[in-house]
Assembly symmetry: C2
Homo-oligomer: 228 residues x 2
């Protein structure tokens, strides 16, 4: 069996685009790229690239993500496929969109700068080329949906974080204020966080305990964490 079987089939240009989420200074941010190639040269776009021969779309996304952040094994999730024939004026390119969550403290800012990329707060995004605006919209919906059932957004925080830091992240993602007491109870009731013997003293005089996600615990909960 070999590819000769499929030899008469049309072959498509296949690309990936990444919605790279980061969180710093209490703001949810996206890493956007200042496009230096035609078409749409000089405008802002998502970080993306073509899928090479002998690569899966996940391989391609990992390659592109490592290239721009310096990080391997970034948490990633498919959002959806964009394939309208006229979506890219440079030709029919089919793009698979990924959400990527990174700990913004860990990435390589020099790499980002050298690529002409820039972190933009989610609330003040520039106009994006092609259908990238719609991609971001879907990606945010997917992120909210995920965060509602899953602590995976902890990927956006350092390994050790306080409940208050986590709550502020949730406030940011859902654009509403969660009640501090209720949020804490709900999160701790999931039983997947482990309290450490360390306190963060930057936010209050009393200090807040750091927590981390328990080893070997499943992040797939069947319980709702927060409602939209």
């Amino acid at each position: 069996m070999n590819t000769i079987l499929y030899k008469d089939q049309y072959r498509h240009l296949l690309a990936i685009d990444c919605i790279i989420f980061g969180y710093s200074n209490e703001e949810l941010k996206l890493l956007l790229f200042h496009r230096e190639i035609m078409p749409a040269q000089g405008q802002w776009s998502l970080v993306g690239g073509f899928v090479n021969e002998n690569e899966s779309v996940e391989d391609a996304a990992n390659r592109v993500l490592e290239g721009i952040t310096g990080l391997k094994n970034i948490y990633m999730e498919q959002v959806s496929v964009f394939s309208k024939t006229n979506r890219d004026p440079g030709g029919h390119v089919v793009s698979v969109v990924f959400n990527a969550l990174i700990d913004i403290e860990k990435h390589n800012p020099d790499l980002v700068r050298d690529h002409g990329a820039h972190w933009w707060p989610i609330s003040k995004l520039p106009n994006l080329i092609f259908d990238h605006g719609e991609m971001v919209k879907q990606a945010l919906g997917k992120l909210r949906n995920k965060a509602g059932f899953n602590l995976i957004v902890g990927e956006l925080l350092p390994k050790e974080f306080t409940i208050t830091q986590l709550r502020r992240l949730y406030n940011n993602i859902f654009q509403r204020e969660f009640d501090p007491g209720n949020f804490r109870k709900k999160i701790l009731s999931l039983g997947i966080l482990e309290r450490l013997n360390k306190k963060d003293l930057s936010d209050s005089k009393k200090g807040a305990y750091y927590y981390k996600i328990k080893e070997g615990v499943s992040m797939v909960l069947n319980e709702r964490i927060v409602k939209e």
Copy 2:
């Protein structure tokens, strides 16, 4: 601007595979295809096909779905992309998977038969080729997730249906028994069903009112219908 810009890029074989859900005799079923081409000739597979030039993946899915069911405008939703380089021994084919929900009463059984396709109850599926088993698993998860928040599975029933018929469909999808009284209250509280002046007398002496989905009502609810 033209495709010359991207001319050095590798081009991929792009396909779609459809998980075609139908519901009859109180069983959830999938339409599977008896594969008559190499590789894996003679085995069962999902219904699929290559994406042609100047087609979006949705176009391709619609084309394939119409070809085998005779129906247009089938409800469809992306599941995810499968692109491991070794997933198809006949060559590297990237496949976009779609869930499709059809009213099994409306499809063209002759077309299905002529294509060598067959309806299989979800509980007794044959072994599927390649990664199609994993595709079905993801598709079912997606269907459950959707059905938990959305009445879209009404697509699997005739336009007019009783609450009991809808409940039995939900029982089938979630593989559990919903309480008749509570299910009825919950569904009706959504306010998206309209009672008709007709009764179905096939299931009981008393007869059950038919309902239909109200015109122009949004199917996108922010409320949970059932829990898994």
